[in-house]
């Protein structure tokens, strides 16, 4: 299996990372060498194996859904690239 430029462009769109042609070419080469390396997994028969999703074999603890941090709006907004009083500002999305 090889990953072509079209696939790279598709993944880049899904990842929301813009790539130019030069970068796409390099990524395709890198990904192909990495996927060649992981192909080895296909040798294993895993038909009857349960997938391991978490090593901590415990059920998640429940807790009350309650507000613990109050009045932290200013602290949160302080890190925003662009803000406007109470809101995060993004480029216009509606015409």
């Amino acid at each position: 299996m090889t990953i072509d430029l079209k696939t790279i462009k598709h993944i880049s769109k899904l990842s929301r990372i813009s790539v130019n042609d030069e970068k796409a070419k390099k990524l395709a080469d890198d990904l192909n060498s990495i996927f060649k390396f992981v192909e080895k997994l296909k040798q294993l028969d895993t038909e009857n194996v349960e997938p391991l999703t978490s090593v901590a074999e415990t059920t998640l603890k429940l807790r009350l859904d309650e507000v613990k941090s109050k009045d932290i709006r200013d602290q949160i907004l302080k890190n925003s690239p662009e803000e406007n009083e109470d809101f995060f500002v993004v480029p216009r999305v509606v015409e």
């Binding site: 990953i3 696939t7 790279i8 993944i11 880049s12 899904l14 990842s15 929301r16 990372i17 813009s18 790539v19 990524l27 890198d30 990904l31 060498s33 990495i34 390396f37 992981v38 192909e39 080895k40 997994l41 296909k42 294993l44 895993t46 194996v49 349960e50 997938p51 391991l52 999703t53 978490s54 090593v55 901590a56 415990t58 998640l60 603890k61 807790r63 932290i72 602290q75 949160i76 302080k78 890190n79 925003s80 690239p81 662009e82 995060f88 993004v90 480029p91 216009r92 999305v93």
Partner: protein
Amino acid sequence: MSQITSQTLTELVKNIKEKKISSEETTRAFIERGEKSNDLNTYITQNFSSALNKAKNFDQKPNFDLKLPGIPMAVKDLFCTNGVKTTAGSKILNNFVPPYESTVTQNIWNQGAILLGKLNCDEFAMGSSNETSFFGNVQSPIDKGLVPGGSSGGSASALAANLTPITIGTDTGGSIRQPASFTGTVGLKPTYGSCSRYGIVAFASSLDQAGPMSKNVKDCALLQEIISTYDEKDSTSIDFKRNEYSKELTKNIKGKKIGIPKEYRVDGMPKEIEDLWTKGVEYAKDCGAEIVEISLPHTNYALPAYYIVAPAEASSNLARYDGVKYGFRSKGENLIDMYEKTRSEGFGEEVQRRIMIGTYVLSSGYYDAYYLKAQKVRKLIKNDFDEAYKKVDAILTPSTPSAAFKIGEKTNDPVSMYLNDIFTVPVNLAGLPAISIPAGVDAKGYPLGLQIIGKAFDEQNILNIAYAMEEKIEFKNKITDWWIK
């Protein structure tokens, strides 16, 4: 009394408690050495003046009941520190100042320690040489032009160079143990769920663990008992009985069964690693341990499985960096364009590569073939360890397949870089604890480490084995201060 900066944590704590040195003197000594060590590029952020003030405050009202009374220390820049910039080695977090503290660092400050600064690391902890950091690569104090390992490379370098008496790193596939091995220091990756992940910049959530890095095993045990706490803010934190590891530390490991997995004898393994391992077996026998040959048949599949699972989780975790609420933002013509440019300019090459791999293996049509397959292989790897632990109490392997390499030597070949983690990755996949201790040097005099892998929650046992072997090994790190003018 030896120079302050070359003392172990245990020595410093004792000397401060006995009022032979003050917290201010100690802090000043590490700051002065840090200021002369900029060529190592270990610090991303220096917190020196604040540290000095805190040390003075400590001396005015000392509390000697604490476990880290007025002890200055620097931490990996992957831990959120309230009011102190936290970058994860990335441009995309270049201006991020957390309004909260990670649980692990909070535990440390609660015991009286003082933050010296934030240490360089591979970007989002993705790397094995500290060359992917936006803030430049870190030099190893072992030799000029040598990588300190990664991703906790700044931590390992600062520790070995005596810029901090102790430190913490994070380990997703070997990021504590490999740099410890490369720099002649001790590094512990605890059991998954032992240390809270709250406030640690996430890489691969099912694999990430914070852990201590130190100059000897005793210091490591002390720091581990401080940072390991149950935390309801981390849904995968596990509520189990934690030891006072440093108090219960013993060199008596008589009759312990230590497994030697034959599959770790990989093709092309340098003779000096083979020899180190053989020597390690002898040391373990000298300590009274019993050596048992074991098999971990799926070892060869760990690295390929890891390079699917870790990027998949990373691609999902790193989706949050979109230039909206915090961090770097690039100008875009519209919202989508802004996202795409922000992420393209804000993430480095290795991080983009891993996001792409992760996105691909999770994308429609490939999920079963890659991600599900890798999770099944992960189960087989865990089963291997479960089987082995029916026969043995711990497992002994080399920490890495080679000593540290030169800066730039492996940057153009991602797969050869990934192969560095061949002995450390299976441990993360199975969620087990493992410690790397310095055990020898290669022909060039570069340090080599041995890894002791334990059963889940059995940190005490591997610390004890490490403690006993450390005494037999008598490793001395040779640091020449070549970078100090």
